[in-house]
Each structure stands twice: as structure tokens, then as C-alpha cells.
Symmetry: C2
Subunit: 437 residues, 2 copies
């Protein structure tokens, strides 16, 4: 171990450049805190001749990230390339297998190969840190991996995708449609040209998979996550939620149940009085329910160059001080197999929105179908205003149903029968209500 | 270092007993996570024969905490006695001077002797951890001391006293007076029989002094904290705040200014839209503004046996893994002298409530006095309803003034002149408005 911690950075996009800026700005302070300097010795990116607003001529340049990882001048690899295969995976494995610690912001890589990378790291005495991979500057990994060591977590849930939260917040605040909002988000740079990865919930699912492993000591199981995006959420849903005292948020939730661990990403109605309902715009938040610590919530910027670089440097400072924690909080060999709690066993309240034909007896029939499925209703609202088309009222009547706590399988069974009823037009909409105290 | 980490606990009150319960409940999990067991070997309390709901007969009993700290069977001292002198200080010093690490929940001890204890710990290669001393289960110490190592903090502020927040929340929710609320809080065990320490802001100030040192790398200076409690807050203030879009919270704030570091504890008006305004009841929250990470907020239970024990165990787990971080984030010898930013230089908006005689020209005179002090007004509200006494309207008219940003010295000068005016009855009330984005 040299006096300074020699860092090789693979990937010089937004976060990589911000990391160089951060170390320039606050490097002396960091050295004070860690007792040794953090010194970038080598960098690697696809294109050497891009203006990054920071001079990289003083660092050894590598075209190949594996070469950078293997360099004798590099003690720690910072992987900021992204992607769950290819050069990112190759350079991380190259570093770990040589006993060099890795700091990464790569959630996809961890969600897919977390367990094997953890074993590789621990077998070689290397650290693998990834605070930047989940919820940007929010120290959620450190909190779960270290601070809550004395706890058993029962549920973790969070708003972990700024794009989705920005869209939902603006739809509500400005009464605009999903499509208009998405277009705006793309124009402002909050959403990618191809937004599927964010909007569809995949990004949230990557982060959730990592948190699940940390909370429950289980092997990562990204493929088991129940996944639903926000693309079907309409302004009408948001307004109905508002009237009922709820907000709609895209949540990632992992929860211990009697049959296993539920992992789900879907739009959820949360009571306006719950702290997580107040998280607006691109801000992220993660809430933890633990047996001893109780209910905690951490919020802050979930993305952005400087915020993500802050998380990377937190990990680097730990490594500089010689701190070493098992990758997923306990030795990778001891992680338990993930036991999936099937989504059909999910218990909770449900919001259902139907369009029914404007004729007598339909509501009674729906109520009967729900009763036959043993679902009890908390409220039924038949909207006063009937939607107009070309100045003429439509024949369909929107009906909003809020159920008491029931099971997903009961709701799905009821919805199948309701959908088959010829007085119900179109496909019923269902949004889960997250139970929060 | 023995295979297990041998722990001596000094103080077996609520937190000490909860710690024993926690280690009983989750000890195996913790050993999994840390790679070694945490084993309580010795305990110490004033009275051996109290029923604590947990069997202590298996531990070596000490009547003297210094004896416990010095015992060869103790690797780490957990100090849960409390108080800034006497046995707490003596046993902590005894442990540290022998190179034994200490975990403490004692905010008073740290606020008074933090700098010298940090030097003692570091000179002897011992750790001194105190997550439990500030905001219970919320990992604010770890966040500042480790996760935000790459940042310069510009401001930290928080709700760090559950008693005060419980009272303010209930006053607002149930429209009851401070006195009635306090009596209720005492009955429910949320407030001490002598509530001065909480209500007067001293408890918050102890915690703030510790956070200031961690955020700004300065020596602890508890005596420099500007201190104002919540005992003068009336239901009328809370209702006026509500109408103006604010809530009143007891905040501890430390802030870098041009002339030094402001440390202040006082009731503050916070916009209802700010996240910290939503923190209700006994919950605590701490918000951080940092140059790279941006704005973060952490919330959760600030007190209670299990929550505080969770924080203690987080610290013990770090010690078990061999993690060692400088007590205040950087070596104690390098902490800078604290430079106080005088409260008269404080800049912000102000809420002023006056009672004026019901005669012409008074409001104009007050507005003139404010203008002469170069304070510009954002709004002036003369209450429609005049308070009644025995069915007859009082002669006094309540007037609420909200100022634009100004200085404390200007406001105090204006208030002196206003108070001297014989059309103003009683003492004007002043509450600072915390600037939040």
C-alpha cells in the first residue's frame, strides 16, 4: 500500500469528469480526513479527444480498461463505464482477481453478477463498493451495510428513479399528460431519448435487487422482480388519487413475507401524509423498516455528476482508511438463496378504475363480483363528470373502487370476471396501494 | 484482539437494557456480518437489584464503572451513564487512556469534552464512536464522518428533540396550548418531570455542537451556541404561521458564513413545502447541504431504547470489523479553532407579532420604524378577529409582520424602538424564518 491511494478511472462521462473535478476541488480536505491522498494516476475512456472541462493530460491514458485495471500504478479501480457485460465486467473482474478493490456506480453489473463478483472480491481480499450505484448521493448502502448491522429489516421501499418521479410530480402539479411530460423531460435532459429503461421500471429494479440482497442477506435475484412501469398512468388516475388522499409514485419495494421475499417495482398509491409522498421531482428517497431502528428515511439527489461522484469518493475514503466490509454486508459465501414470494400472494389495498356503461344495475353487478371474490370495498366513487368527446357525453362512466386489504390473486380473479362483463368497457386499471403507517 | 469482541456496559437504564435485548435477539446475525461475535462480559449500574426484564447474572458485575473500563475482560466500553462529568467521564477516560475503544450515547460529555476526549482516543489508538448521541437511530454521524468525506458542508439543520417536536406538532394539530401539551407529554412519558433541558433547547444544542465539529472540522464550542427554547411559542403563533404557509419547528442550525460559523437553536418558521416541515411528533430529522452531494435529509426515531441501541450496535459492529475513523472525521490535532459568527450578523426573514392599540396611525408608525431600520416588509396582516376577554373585545389589535431578508441586528434595533412606542402593548414576539429552497 503506497502512501497515496492510486486511483484508475475507467469511464470519463458525466460522473467520471465530476469525480476529477471533486478531487481537484476538495482533495486536500479529503487527505486530511483519510490520512492519505487520493491520487488519480490513470484514466481510460472511449475517446481521448473530448473536451471534458478538465485536463486529463497528467494521467496515464489507457484505451483498454482491463489494461488500466491491471496497471501497477493503480491500487483501486473506479468503474464508471456501465453495462452488465463487456468492458465494465472485464475490468472489474481483472481488478478483483488481482486483489485490487473496485468502486463502481454500475447497478446493472451488480444486479446481474453481484453474487459472483462479491465472491471474487472476498476470495482475493479486495473491497467492492457501490454507494454510487443506488440513489446517487444518498448513503443508503453504507446505512444498510454498516449502520444497521444490529437490525433485521422487514421492508425497504423507495423512489429510486428521478425521471419517473419528475414525470409523476409534473403531471400532478401542472395537470398535463404523461406524453407531454415525457417530451418535456427529454427536452430538459431528465429523460433519455429512449426512455424505456427508466419509464418501464428496469432502472429501479436494478437498484432494488442490490438493496434486497443487503437487507435480507440473500443472493441477488434481479429476474424475480415483479415489474410494472409508469407508462399506463393517466392524469385521471393522478387526479383520482389526489381526491382520495393519495399520490402515485413509482416504488421499488422488497419485503419479507411468510412465504419468502417479495420484490416489486410498480406505480403505487401512497397516502399524502406519508413522508415518501412528499418526495418531488428528481429527488430520490429510500425508507427502511427495521426491528430495532424503526422506520428511517433517507432522501436526496439520486443522480447528477457531482452527487454521484460524492458517493464514489465516500467509498474511496473508506478504502483509503483501510475499511473493509463484506460486499453485501455478510460474507458472500453465506448469502442465502433467494426465496421468491409470488406476486399473487401480495397483500394490500387496491385502486381500480373501470369504465362502465351508463345503464342501471352495472354497479350492483360489479359489487357482487367483488363480493364473490371476497374482496371488501372501502369506497366506490362514480365520477360526477362524464368525459366528453366532440361535445357529446360518452356513454362510459368512470368508476373508482378502493378495496380493503386483500390479495393480488383475488383482485386479478375479480378483474378477469369484470373485464368479461359486457357492461364494462375497455381494460380496467389497477394500481396497488402501499400500506404505510 | 480476542476472537469475540468483549463488551463492558456501564449504565443499564432504558438503552442499556435494550442493548442487552438486541444482542440476545440478533446476536447471531451480527456475528455473521462482522465475522466475530459481540459478547457482553461485564456490566455496571447503580443498583444491582432492579428488574430490567433481562437476566444480567451471567455478566461480571461492577459497582464502579472505572473498574469495568479497566477490566482485562473488556475490549470495548459502552458508556450509557450520561452526564458531562463524574463517573461517565471517568470511565470513558479510563478506557481511552488504556487504548480501549469507547461507544457512547452521551451527548453532554462530547459537547463539553469532545475535543480532549478525541485527542486522548487518537493518542492511544482507540476509537470513540457516538452514533447514539445524536438523533437516535438515524445514521447521521456515519454519514458526516464517512459517507460525505468528499464534501464541504455549508449548512446542517435538524429537528433533534422529540419532546419539542411532539409538543409543536400537537399544538398545531389539536389547537391546544403549550402548557396543556407539555402536561400531556409528561403524562405520556415524552417529557421529563423537569422539562427545561428539552424545552429550553439545551438537548438540541448538545447534539448541534457535535454535528458542527463534524461538518466544519472545528473544535467543539458548545458555549457559543445561540439558544432559545419553545416555551414562548403560543397557539396564536402556530396559527399565524399556518395561515402564512409555514410551520414552527425547534431547529438546531450550524452554518458557514463569511465571518465564521453560526450555531443556533431556536424556534424557526419553515415553509410547509420544505421536507423538514413534514417531520411530525417524536420523529427526528437532520438535513445537510453540501457542495457535491447537494441537499440530503435523514429522518427516523430520535430516541427510545431499541432505536438508540441500534445505533450503539452499528458502532460496535464497525469496531468488531476493525474500522477506525478519526473521532470528528479528521485527526483531533488538526481541528480548527471555532470562529463564531455573531448572532447579530445573522441574515434571514423574520416573523414579528405585535399587539397594537386600536387607534389610527399606529400601523403607519410601525411601518416607518421598520423602514428607518432599512427592513423591507414582505407582508403585514392585521388580524380580523379581535381577541375577546369576558365577552368584550380587547383594545389590542394583533399585527403580524413578515420581513424580507434582513439582519438580526436591524430587527433587534427596530424592535427596541417599536417596544418603546406607547401604542405597542406588551413585548413584541419575534420568530426567525429559516431560508429553505
Amino acid at each position: 500500500m503506497s502512501q497515496v491511494l492510486r486511483i484508475g478511472i475507467a469511464g470519463l462521462g458525466t460522473v467520471g469528469s465530476a469525480l476529477l473535478h471533486l478531487l481537484e476541488d476538495n482533495g486536500d480536505e479529503i487527505a486530511d480526513k483519510t490520512g492519505r491522498g487520493l491520487s488519480v494516476t490513470a484514466v481510460c475512456a472511449r475517446n481521448r479527444n473530448v473536451d471534458r472541462g478538465v485536463d486529463v493530460s497528467g494521467y496515464t491514458w489507457f484505451d483498454d480498461p482491463v489494461g488500466l485495471a491491471e496497471s501497477d500504478d493503480v491500487d483501486v479501480l473506479v468503474e464508471l463505464i456501465g453495462g452488465d457485460e463487456g468492458p465494465a465486467r472485464a475490468c472489474v473482474e481483472a481488478a478483483l482477481s488481482r486483489g485490487k478493490s473496485v468502486v463502481t456506480a454500475n447497478k446493472a453489473l451488480l444486479a446481474k453478477h453481484g453474487a459472483s463478483l462479491a465472491k471474487l472480491a472476498e476470495a482475493n481480499g479486495a473491497g467492492l463498493s457501490y454507494e454510487a450505484a443506488v440513489a446517487g448521493a444518498i448513503p443508503i448502502i453504507k446505512t444498510l451495510r454498516e449502520a444497521l448491522s444490529g437490525n433485521r429489516v422487514s421492508r425497504i421501499f423507495g423512489i429510486m428513479n428521478g425521471t419517473c418521479n419528475y414525470i409523476l410530480t409534473r403531471m400532478e402539479a401542472e395537470k398535463i399528460s404523461f406524453a407531454d411530460c415525457l417530451a418535456d423531460a427529454q427536452r430538459l435532459g431528465y429523460a433519455e431519448a429512449d426512455p424505456t429503461f427508466d419509464i418501464g421500471g428496469h432502472d429501479t429494479a436494478h437498484k432494488l435487487a442490490i438493496l434486497t440482497s443487503l437487507c435480507f442477506g440473500t443472493e441477488i435475484s434481479f429476474d424475480s422482480i415483479y415489474l410494472e412501469g409508469i407508462d399506463k398512468i393517466t392524469l385521471a388516475d393522478i387526479e383520482a388519487a389526489d381526491q382520495l388522499g393519495y399520490r402515485i409514485k413509482l416504488l421499488g419495494v422488497a419485503q419479507q413475507t411468510e412465504t419468502g421475499i417479495e420484490q416489486r417495482v410498480h406505480p403505487a398509491m401512497v397516502p399524502k401524509t406519508a413522508a415518501i409522498a412528499g418526495i418531488d421531482g428528481v429527488t430520490n428517497a429510500v425508507a427502511i423498516e427495521a426491528d430495532k431502528a424503526g422506520s428511517l428515511m433517507l432522501s436526496g439527489p439520486g443522480a447528477g455528476g457531482a452527487a454521484t461522484a460524492s458517493a464514489v469518493v465516500g467509498d474511496l475514503a473508506d478504502l483509503a482508511r483501510g475499511q473493509r466490509v463484506p460486499v453485501f454486508g455478510k460474507p458472500a459465501e453465506g448469502l442465502q438463496p433467494y426465496v421468491r414470494a409470488g406476486m399473487r400472494l401480495h397483500e394490500g389495498g387496491y385502486y381500480l378504475a373501470l369504465e362502465i356503461a351508463d345503464k342501471p344495475g352495472v354497479l350492483a353487478r360489479i359489487a357482487t363480483l367483488m363480493a364473490e371474490a371476497e374482496i371488501s370495498l372501502q369506497s366506490v366513487v362514480q365520477h360526477r363528470e362524464i368525459e366528453q368527446e366532440n361535445g357529446k357525453p360518452l356513454r362510459a362512466q368512470p368508476v373508482i373502487i378502493i378495496t380493503h386489504e386483500t390479495t393480488e390473486s383475488a383482485v386479478r380473479a375479480a378483474l378477469e370476471r369484470i373485464e368479461a362483463d359486457d357492461s364494462v368497457l375497455g381494460t380496467p386499471k389497477m394500481i396497488r396501494i402501499e400500506k404505510l403507517s
